[in-house]
Amino acid sequence: MKARAATSFGEDATSSAPLLRVRSLTTSYVGERGSLRVVDDVSFSLEGGKVLSVVGESGSGKTALCRSIMRLFPTSKVHVDGQVIFDDQQLLELDDLEMSELWGTRIAMVFQDPMSSLNPVMRVGNQVAEGPRRRLHMARSAAKERAISALKSAGIADAKQRYSRYPHELSGGLRQRVAIAIAIANGPKLILADEPTTGLDVTVQAQILSLVNQLSHSAGIAVIMVTHDLAVAASASDDIAVMYAGRVVEIGPAREVIGHPRMRYTEALLLASPRLYQTPHARLNAIAGRPPDPLDLGPGCAFSPRCPHADSRCFEERPELTASSEDQRHLYACWHPASAALDEFAKLAVK
């Protein structure tokens, strides 16, 4: 099944340049009380067949980052700056029509809550087949076949029977598999998954994560997975980017970010995450303070008001992303980086 998935839903990403390059991406919502910068100067690259997890708390801009790459917003009062280069195309320079041609066929999305992201009054099979039928202009029967094999690739065993079910007749895990089938049906090269496992229980969560990884690696699909859960990110991604107040504050290979966090916010997140670490004194280290008000950010590091290591420099001067001495691909933005490895506390195996 793995092999079939690889041949029917993706091409090998063998080109030398990364599939996706994001440069200085800045996104603002324009509202009545002025504009609100939700993504601030974010840059990264992602290759085909790799999974990047974007981790952050509520309001850190991780979802907005996803939507900016996709250019899919519910309102038009959004302003996006910078560069998004996908497959040698400047996405931000495309007009709406050209952009929507990429939607579904080259870039696809998986949403947080499959209950609300699936149409309640449409059979799930038709929702999967709709993409191939409308966008690839397949005949009805071919689209149906395509949909069934997409459902199979998404790990739905009795795809033929499930095809004519309605969303409310399926379990949460199955619904999310359907959502994934919708995303892969047209063989995209990039999938943006926004909290794909948040509503699911832990066992199902693990299954969905391994499915995402398997699809990504076997079909060469690049996946950006947004999550607030470091445990999810640690178990299912090649790279991790940590976001805080709209900025990427630490990014690198998952093993490095989890094993040797440098930015103090990442460190605090890890120490507060009971599923990843057992702290020596079995006490959870909550992060004091509250997330920053995006309308009222100081000139310094946005985390400084909550950071136990912050000094006056942290409040006045914003640290830039710098490469770690141990791994050039591991970048962090901190004036007082942590040095001790947290390996010894690790509970979960990190890839």
């Binding site: 939607w103 609300s116 149409n119 009054v121 449409m122 409310h168």
Partner: protein, 301 residues
Amino acid sequence: MIVFVISIGVFLLLHLLPGNPAYAILGPGATPLAVAKVTRQLGLNKPLIDQYVTWLTRALHGNLGTSYLTEQPVSTTIGHAFPVDLELVILSQLIAFALAIPMAITAARRQASILDRIFTMSSFGMLSLPAFVIGVPLVLAVAVTVHWFPATGYTPIYSQPITNLHEMILPSITLAVGSVAIYYRLLRTDLIATLQEEFITLARSKGLSNREVMYRHALRPSTFSVLTATAINVGSLLGGAVVVEYLFGLPGMGLLLVNGIYSRDYVMVQGVILTLAVAFVLVNFLADILYRVIDPRVRHA
């Protein structure tokens, strides 16, 4: 069950009113002999329950009695009149949907746009134009002044369909005006809510065009309250149909009812009201079934 309760209601309604219906039928100058005769004819001297059982048994067999005035079976007269109402109501609802759905889609797609404001303001206007208010100016404008449509007259649809349609258009529009406003407002509200749903964003992310998103994904989940409203609305449409038929001289149930009231044709009024009430219940029953077809969640609940 509801039909049964209604039958009791219709029956009691006309029997519990003060005074002997025979007087009502014959008028104040009736001789005691005539009153006694009519009373016997109608079975009014028997106990109420007996009267009801007799009446109901006959009604169930399609026998609604004989008109005191025309001496024709009421069911025959109703059989001729009912298709007029059916056509009037169906035509008016077709017109209402044909206007309300595109209006609501346009308005919901571009909220607070000029078109949205115009439609919403005019929906208030239409809501304030019951049949007896809009009917007269409409007749004046299109029938009296420019003679596009006839102001009165009726040809059965099975003898001359074209003439029939020509005659029915003005009455149907008169009846449709209020419905347009109701359906437009409900559908617009529901469409706006549906368009905020995440499955709409997902549909867009599939690369579907706005049109496909609207018609394939947004419209159907937005029609539930319109459907419910249509079923309830039939009640006021039946009332409106009475006015419209009176205004345009259409020989439907409404005219039958009004004339029955004028001439105190007791049996006729009872028959017409029972028929219309049962029709109303049936429509609501049909709407319930249709609801299940449109919303799979209800089907399995």
